[in-house]
């Protein structure tokens, strides 16, 4: 039913990798014993006061610049008031109508705003049955409370679950390149909520949106958004309205459950934080942030495309995962390789497939120079593609130099006049005269078994293209 167009906006929370918390000098915690990183400020003790972490501002401005935002000349913290055990002051210090950054764009998605705030503490439920009224207890650990957070809100520019997932990957790569956060969804340093609505295709108006909270993996985000789109579609098709609500998606069962309805919408009673003076983005602060920016994924992709001639798709594939692009460029630069950039780029996916899509190639046993060497061997037709894949497996297993491996194991390509390839081709034709005749009479599809025979005889060391050429030549085509 493609009469409906999904409209998706994302709200992302990023934990910054500063040394200390947003408003106090407690160190950030990584799986430590509970409540060992607290102080009067982050415990919300009477009389304690917040003081802004300069590094968090620096990182916030870097993020804003990387996302093409306007950095507010003056911004203000506000109190967001509500009661919950993980919120020690009974308010969160956040930003409201004067955020650090506004506007911006990353890829196809416009950024609405970027602002700074403090993270809540962690609430651990110790009861057996979950959330039963009065029967169970929870325990609060304030280690996490006060961790600096950057909140990024996009415009509703995404139109499919897949697009949303891809964009989040791009955002993650960008933030990782900045070095401002671990951006690890499984650890909670990157958290994503999605606002989802649908509307008749071509309509300019927005439908009622629902909010999906806290999806902690790219797959989870994709599946949750997809499920919600389908749910809304089904509702509208049945003539029922979409109700504005907050939902939780269970990735295991695939079900969506309401968390709270509109009637319980919060009144946060925002007002300017009197304990914190305004922030002014000085020229020095802006310059320092600008200087700290590395080449960002989108720019890198563009460069790979224009300077090296990679396809737009391949360039994005590499640039949108910093580790891949770094590895690729290291391989390209490795001494004496003089390898073809496009050919090299095409072999990166082969490597990734073998080491796992989450692994960093720099952590594998395949040195960048080795991959470059391997690709060069193929380009020079000194080994076949099949052989190259075998050698790659060996490199992954135990490292080493590709040329040495080929030498040592006699994996050189069977190719050229002195190689005996012509005899093997002749033998293939003789072994399968039916196929040979079909090819001779123009049915190119029948060439498969003939090539296959040769490849088997040469243990994959022949180049498929050369074999096909020889077959056709021997058949007089």
């Amino acid at each position: 039913m493609n009469e409906y167009e999904p409209v998706i906006g994302l709200e992302i929370h990023v934990q910054l990798s500063t040394q200390t918390k947003m408003f106090c000098g407690c160190e950030l915690s990584f799986g430590d014993e509970p409540n060992v990183h607290t102080c009067p400020v982050c415990l919300g003790l009477p009389g304690a006061l917040p003081v802004v972490n300069a590094q968090a501002i620096h990182y916030g401005i870097m993020i804003g610049l990387a996302l093409g935002c306007e950095i507010a000349p003056r911004s203000q913290f506000h109190r967001k008031n509500y009661f919950y055990p993980d919120l020690p002051k009974g308010y969160q210090i956040s930003q409201y109508d004067v955020p650090l950054c506004r506007g911006g764009r990353l890829g196809d998605v416009r950024i609405h705003r970027v602002h700074l705030e403090e993270d809540a503490a962690k609430l651990v439920h110790v009861g057996e049955s979950g959330r039963i009224h009065g029967a169970d207890r929870s325990v609060v650990d304030f280690n996490r409370g006060g961790t600096p957070l950057v909140e990024i809100v996009t415009e509703p520019d995404l139109h499919s679950a897949e697009q949303a997932r891809e964009w989040l990957v791009l955002l993650r790569t960008t933030l990782r390149a900045l070095g401002v956060s671990d951006v690890d969804m499984s650890q909670g340093s990157l958290r994503c909520d999605a606002n989802v609505s649908i509307r008749p295709a071509g309509s300019g108006e927005l439908g009622t949106k629902t909010e999906l909270k806290n999806m902690n993996s790219f797959r989870f985000l994709h599946d949750g958004v997809l499920a919600e789109i389908e749910r809304q579609q089904a509702l509208l098709e049945a003539g029922e309205p979409v109700v504005q609500e907050t939902l939780h998606f269970d990735p295991v069962s695939g079900t969506l459950t309401p968390l709270r309805s509109k009637e319980e919408a919060h009144d946060y009673r925002y007002f300017p934080e009197p304990d914190l003076v305004p922030l002014e983005a000085t020229p020095e602060m802006l310059a320092a942030a600008r200087d700290a920016l590395p080449e960002l994924p989108a720019a890198r992709a563009a460069r790979l495309e224009s300077d090296l001639g990679l396809s737009a798709e391949r360039a994005r594939e590499l640039a949108f995962r910093t580790e891949l692009a770094d590895y690729y460029e290291a391989a390209l630069a490795s001494d004496g390789a003089a390898v073809d950039p496009i050919a090299l780029a095409n072999w990166i996916p082969q490597l990734v497939e073998r080491i796992g899509s989450d692994a960093d190639p720099a952590g594998s046993r395949v040195a960048p120079a080795s991959l470059a060497g391997l690709v060069k061997l193929v380009s020079e037709k000194r080994i076949s593609r099949d052989t190259a894949r075998e050698v790659l497996d060996r490199l992954i297993a135990s490292g080493g130099d590709p040329e040495e491996i080929v030498e040592r194991e006699g994996l050189g390509a069977v190719s050229g006049e002195d190689s005996g390839l012509g005899e093997i081709v002749a033998a293939a034709l003789a072994a399968d005269p039916v196929a040979a005749e079909q090819v001779r009479s123009g049915n190119m599809k029948a060439i498969g078994p003939l090539v296959g025979y040769v490849m088997r005889e040469t243990k994959g060391r022949a180049d498929g293209g050369e074999v096909s050429r020889l077959i056709r030549a021997q058949l007089g085509l």
């Binding site: 407690c26 009067p40 802004v52 501002i57 009661f83 029967a135 929870s138 609060v140 009197p274």
Partner: protein, 99 residues
């Protein structure tokens, strides 16, 4: 004039349990105060900027350097329900406010 329902709503926001008697009394007292305060709304303040801070200071920032945290037993010293190294509380229900 503040209605009883409004007062109840505000009490809920403020997490204050008020008895019926208190609700009624509070409605009267607050109404009286608000009637007096209402007069400021007659002022012409259209072109006036609000003052959130009386001092003219910006960028009071601190360096990202660790300072000693409280020892855990000190942090928990006043806890009404210290448990498992943390602060015990009733488990929030689905209707409790949350982020």
């Amino acid at each position: 004039m503040l209605e009883r329902e409004q007062v109840q709503h505000v009490a809920r926001l403020a997490r204050l349990e008020l008895s019926e008697e208190e609700l009624v009394r509070m409605a009267g007292e607050l109404s009286k105060v608000l009637d007096h305060i209402e007069k400021i709304r007659e002022l012409d303040l259209d072109d006036v900027e609000p003052t959130a801070h009386v001092i003219d200071v910006v960028n009071a920032l601190r360096a990202d350097r660790p300072e000693p945290s409280l020892p855990r037993e000190v942090a928990l010293a006043a806890a009404p329900e210290p448990v498992a190294g943390g602060f015990g509380v009733p488990t929030p229900g689905a209707s409790a406010e949350a982020q």
